[in-house]
Every structure is written in structure tokens, then in C-alpha cells.
Amino acid sequence: MNKIIEARFIGPNVKLFKIEAPKIAEKRKAGQFVMLRVHDNGERIPLTIADSDANEGWIEIIAQGVGKTTKLLNMLEAGDYIHDLVGPLGKPSHIENFGTAVSIGGGVGTAIAYPIAKALKEAGNYVISIIGGRSKEYVILESEISRFSDEVYPTTDDGSYGFHGFVTQKLQELIDSGKQIDFVLAIGPVPMMEAVAKITQPYGIKTVVSLNSIMVDGTGMCGGCRALVNGETVFVCVDGPEFDAHQVNFKVLKDRNNTYFLEEKESLHDYECHLDQAFFTLLKKQKQGEN
């Protein structure tokens, strides 16, 4: 069990947690993730390590409440415990000084791109961050990202804040302005990552995406997270999660991510109708840090 030191919403349905995890904090590099379970009958889900401090022994994760597990997680507060937490998993991002790097985050993808963009800056890149959201309140981490980015462009679909349009339109605008771009990192919904890949391909700009496939163990044991990259099967949890965007088969990723569509809906529905009272008892115990 790992203790939550701090918990606060940073956007609608998006919550940031600072968690005691000295071992993980010591080892973790940008791009790596953890897997956690919220309670003893819970699902194992992957979440990126957004930040960490080895001296103080904590890691930070940012979760968007989309289904049962993430919504349960987002009910936890400082002082509560994470039932199981394992990591750091996955390969660290490949960081080097590419020159000018554009980091694009869509929705909660911004939280996943954030530590990598920071590492790119530390490696000497000129970092341009594009942070997309549906509307103003969905643009997250802007002040954190501004701290290290050379240029920051918030974008909103409805024009309520920053650039009016999709992150891809902003990227196209940057390219059209004649700016030299050496590297693009794109993390967000699959259609967004696919669209970015389509834009950068004709220009031959090296582009990396982080794949959000469905995972079970996160250690290479089950093969459930497999994706097709360059026509070959890869296990995202151990071979990734980052891959060359121009080689990823996004259709397979989208299809596979829809595998449990019906079950997830059912699970969320039951949960939201408060049918599983048993769970609330569990959560209470959880809050007291019992097993």
C-alpha cells in the first residue's frame, strides 16, 4: 500500500496525486509508467509518472476519470492509500538534443507528454508545447509547462481559450510559418496521434507517439497490450510505450482499445447506480489503510 500525500483536481475530472513511493521515485525516468489497483477486486491500470522526487521519495500521477477504475481513484484523497502500485514500467523515452522539439498533448495526454517535454528541454532542445482541450477548463498543466517551454500554445476546440481549433491545426500553422521542426512528440486520443502522424510524415519530421493500449500485468507476461508497428507485433508495456508514429498501425490500436467497450459501460453503469455497495465498504477500509 502506498500513501497519498497530496490530491487535487487540476481540470474537470482530472486529478493529480502525489504518492509516497521512494523506490519508484529513485529509479524512474521520463516516459515510464506505473500500474496500480485501487482495491482488492480492482483492475490493474497503467498511468504515466508525471513527476517525481527521489530525495523526498514521491511520484506524481495525473488521472482522468473515464471509467470505473479511474473514477474510483479520483475519489481518493490525501491520507488514503493506493492498494497496489508497481513500477517504473516501460522503456524510458529516448531523449536527445534534436534541435527544435514540438510537444503536443491532447486532453489528459498533456499529463503524459509533460515529463517528456521537460526532459527534452533539459537535454537542450528548443521546446514548443501545444496543449489541447475541448474548452478552457480542459487545458491542463499550462503553468507547469510554461516554466520550461520556450513557446506554449493552448488550443481549444470551441475557441474559449487560446488558439481556436485542434492541436493538429496549430502544428500545421507552425510548419507553414516556415519554422524548422526537428522532432514532434504527440500524446492524446488515438485519432489525434494518427492525425499528427499524417501531418508530419510528408515533411519527414521524426515523430513519436505514446500508445495507450489495454494492459494487464505491464511486465511482458500476457501479450494483451500488443500493437502492430512496422508490420510487426510489439508488446507496448516492455517494448514501448513510445514508438515511431509513422510506423504505428492506428486502426489495430483503435480496434483493440474498444475490446471491452460493453463491459466497461456495464461496469461504470453499475458503479454509478451505486449497485455495488460492497465496494464502498471496501473503499472505506482502504481509506483507513487496512488490507
Partner: protein
């Protein structure tokens, strides 16, 4: 003093006439719809009557057939005498997990095949008796904590909580060392908890064994991936020796078209979702599985894993559940009992057949499978007749779910992070066969990570051997660590 009245020994002649006692089991039509254990176990009367059949051979070949050399006639005699506690104690001198092995060992290839009764009559049901004694102990007096030698002050890290790691931990704690087991998952047991289903090996049995080890002083650190959470090198600064029992956890696929379709699972994923994550009870448990009710499931392979996956499918409500295996039945590596149980439950067997392609719909969901039928050709290097494709004999079969159970390679997480650990070309860790020491000083290894996918008892045997030499290494200053 026994717990039950002894059963008098009959003359040898009469004893050989007693037929082997079948273990009571759930009716196939009932059990194919539940996850409860298939075999129900002997009563004390049955156990004592079966024990009566053992001839107490002076030179018992059965002991040599058991990879850990359990003192078989001795423990069986105690059952006949009614002293089950003592029978369990004798078992545990050589086997840390008798309740598990009695259930899952391929006895027909090990202890029972060499029993002197096998040729003319039927072998003594050694596995069933082993299980009986171990279950009796757990249910009646609780698993007894063994005597612990005085503390040595030496610290040993056991990496991997499967049968290899657990048996090494059990021996090393008895020898007085300070033992910590590091496990990547959130539950201890390895394949015993994520692979082998509840209906063959109830989880409570594994959990009780783990609790007994904890009571003896073994520490457990779950959610700890060696190679990622800490490297082996870092751990060796805090521990005097380490044992690697990380198993063979990397599922093979066939690399045929369509394997990425939704509905194609590896057996590891399918079984992990159902067993470890309890997807068979979705609702109270959050981890889903594709709904199997009234679906057709094809399981590719002929080993224990394949049998577990196909029988699991029936229990999840499959309309048709079939094994697709490229050789013939006699070559299937699964335990005979599992194949027999699968047939009783209604599993279909498509032998001498191998999938060549999976076909899906526009949503990327599996719809059918193309199968190449085979015939037996010339014997290959292993002496088995090789299946060869019959030209043109390709059939398309509608299926909803495919489970690929063709074996596991070695998981590279540890070896990637430990470059000085020597491996063969398949990634198996190389060890000295006598002592189980690796190319890295202070580090021993055993189980599936060394041999490739094998059996529970072989993994446990390797764990024991390693424990013996870890003790040597820690306590004997003359122990040399030579490695060519």
C-alpha cells in the same frame, strides 16, 4: 500416536487384488458450469484402503521417479497407520508444497509410472494420497511451521514467487537465513495463481502455503519488478545471495496473419484475466473478458495450458470449445487426467490441424480461422512422427475467440538489466547443473527461467537444489565461484 485407528496389513497377494481407488469427482455435467474443484479428494477410509495397496518395496522405484525423491512408502505407511500428521511431516521433508503437487504433478510420467504395481495391476495412487495428507494437515491442524535453525545473519533475496522461489525460500528459512521474496505481481504463487485455474488448484491452497512460509519468517515484497524497481546489482549490495526463479513469462504467438484481431488472446492473458483478476466473476471484480457465453472458442495447443484454457471456456458458457493441435493425441504434452476430464466435459478435439490465418470483420473482431489439416510423416529429431500439411486440406471455421497456448519464452526484463548474467540464445539463464549457480557471483537460478516451460515439481526441485548450495556458498568459506 495416530489420529485414526490403523488399518491392519493384509497379505501381499490380497493387497494386489484391491483395485486402485478412484478419486471422487464432480459430475462432468455439473462441473463444466462451475469453477469449483473437479476432484473432491479421498475420505480417510478411501485413503487408508488405497494406502493398503502399497507393497512397501525394499528398493522402492517410485522414489526415484519423483524429482524430489519423496519417501513415498514411508508416508503411505503412516496414512495406513492412521497418523496423517506424521505422513504430512514426512512429505514436507522433501516437498514444500505437497497439496499442490498431489494435484498437478504428471504422476503418470513420474512416480506412478515406475511403481512396481504398474505393469500387472494399477499403480498406487501416490498423488491422491499426497494430496490427502497435505489437505488433512491444512484443514485439521493447520500447516505446521518447521523447526528453524539458529539465525545465521545472512540475507537472501528470492526473485519470483512461483514454485521455484517458494521452495527455495522454505528451505533457506529453515536453515536460519533471512529470506525476502520479491514478486512482480500483486499476488504470490506465479503460475499457480495466475495460470492454473481454480477448478484444478483452488487459490486458498496456495495462499495457505504462502501464509505458512510467512509464519516461518519469510518476508514478501509484492509489486516489485527486479530489473525495473531495483536492478539485481543494486540488490546484491544488500543481500548476500540471490535466487532467480522468474519463470518463463513471455507468450509466444505464431506470427500468422490476423493475430492482432480482437478476440485472439494468448493463454497467459486469457488465464490471468480469469484466474488472477477473477474475470469469471465480473461485476464484483472489475477486470473484464470478452463475453464467452454461447460463443465458439478455439484453443491452439495440446499442453496443460491449452487444457486449462479450453475447460475455462466451457465454464464461462461457451457453446463450443475445441482444442486445435498439430500432432496426434498420444503426443499431447498435457497430463492424461486433464485430457480425460476435458473430454468428459464436452471439449472437442481437432487433431493434426494448425491455424494458418485469422479472419475478422471491419471492426477488427475475430470471425473465423483457417486451419491446415495435417498427416503424420517421417519421425523427426525427437523421434516423434512429424505432422506434414495435406496439400489443399484447408478449412475455414467460424470462431469468436482464439486462445494461443503454444508455449512461453523467457521474459527479458531481468536479463536486459543484468548484462553479466549469461543466457542461451532463447534467453534462458545458464546455470551450473549441480549447484544452480549462474555466471554472476552470489546469484543462483532455477525453474522455468532455466529449463523453459516445464513442471511445478521440477521447478521446486531446482529451488531446493539451489537452496542447498546457497547455504554452502554462504556458510562455507571454501566455496569456489568458477565459471568458464
Amino acid at each position: 500416536m495416530g489420529q485414526y485407528p490403523p488399518v491392519e496389513l493384509l497379505p501381499s497377494k490380497e493387497r494386489t487384488k484391491i483395485p486402485r481407488h478412484k478419486i471422487p469427482e464432480q459430475d462432468p455435467n455439473v462441473r463444466r458450469a462451475n469453477f469449483k474443484e473437479v476432484n473432491l479428494g479421498y475420505t480417510i477410509e478411501m485413503a487408508q484402503a488405497e494406502a493398503q495397496r502399497c507393497l512397501m518395496c525394499a528398493n522402492p522405484p517410485c522414489i526415484g521417479g519423483c524429482p524430489v525423491n519423496i519417501k513415498i512408502p514411508q508416508f503411505i505407511e503412516k496414512i495406513r497407520e492412521g497418523d496423517i500428521a506424521e505422513a504430512a511431516r514426512i512429505l514436507k521433508e522433501d516437498n514444500a508444497l505437497p497439496a499442490v503437487c498431489g494435484r498437478v504433478c504428471p504422476q503418470e510420467e513420474q512416480c506412478e509410472i515406475v511403481c512396481v504395481l504398474t505393469k500387472k495391476f494399477q499403480p498406487v495412487a501416490i498423488g491422491n494420497l499426497e494430496r490427502f495428507a497435505a489437505d488433512w494437515e491444512r484443514e485439521n491442524i493447520g500447516i505446521q511451521v518447521p523447526k528453524i535453525e539458529s539465525k545465521t545473519g545472512k540475507k537472501v533475496a528470492i526473485i519470483g514467487g512461483g514454485p521455484a522461489g517458494l521452495s527455495a525460500a522454505g528451505d533457506l528459512i529453515r536453515m536460519g537465513h533471512d529470506v525476502t521474496v520479491f514478486e512482480a505481481l500483486h499476488e504470490i504463487g506465479g503460475v499457480l495463481v495466475y495460470g492454473i485455474p481454480e477448478f484444478r488448484l483452488p487459490k486458498v491452497i496456495v495462499r495457505a502455503e504462502v501464509e505458512a512460509l510467512a509464519a516461518a519468517g519469510v518476508k514478501f515484497e509484492k509489486n516489485f519488478v527486479v530489473g525495473l524497481t531495483s536492478t539485481l546489482d543494486e540488490m546484491m549490495q544488500q543481500f548476500d545471495a540471490a535466487f532467480l526463479g522468474v519463470g518463463a513469462g513471455l507468450p509466444y504467438f505464431m506470427n500468422i496473419p490476423g493475430e492482432e484481431l480482437v478476440g485472439v488472446y494468448s493463454a497467459n492473458e486469457y488465464l490471468t484475466r480469469v484466474n488472477l483478476m477473477r474475470a469469471y466473476d465480473f461485476g464484483p471484480n472489475d477486470t473484464p473478458l470478452i463475453n464467452i457465453k454461447n460463443k465458439t472458442v478455439a484453443v491452439i495447443g495440446g499442453g496443460n495450458t491449452a487444457m486449462d484454457a479450453v475447460r475455462t471456456s466451457l465454464r464461462l458458457g461457451a457453446k463450443r470449445a475445441m482444442i486445435v493441435y498439430r500432432r496426434s493425441e498420444s503426443e499431447m504434452p498435457a497430463r492424461i487426467e486433464e485430457v480425460h476430464h476435458a473430454k468428459e466435459e464436452g471439449v472437442e478435439f481437432m487433431l493434426l490441424a494448425s491455424p494458418t490465418e485469422y479472419l475478422g470483420d471491419e471492426r477488427g473482431w475475430l470471425r473465423s480461422m483457417k486451419v491446415q489439416h495435417m498427416e503424420l510423416g517421417e519421425p523427426d529429431a525427437s523421434g516423434r512422427r512429424k505432422p506434414v500439411p495435406i496439400p489443399g486440406a484447408i478449412e475455414e471455421i467460424p470462431i469468436d475467440v482464439a486462445v494461443v497456448a503454444i508455449g512461453n519464452g523467457s521474459n527479458p526484463v531481468i536479463t536486459r538489466a543484468t548484462p553479466d548474467l549469461k543466457t542461451n540464445k532463447w534467453g534462458n539463464i545458464l546455470v551450473d547443473k549441480t549447484t544452480m549457480k549462474t555466471s554472476k557471483k552470489g546469484v543462483f537460478a532455477g525453474g522455468d527461467i532455466v529449463t523453459g516451460g516445464a513442471t511445478v515439481i521440477l521447478a521446486m526441485g531446482a529451488g531446493r537444489t539451489a537452496a542447498k548450495y546457497i547455504n554452502e556458498y554462504l556458510m562455507n568459506p571454501d566455496f569456489v565461484w568458477d565459471w568458464e
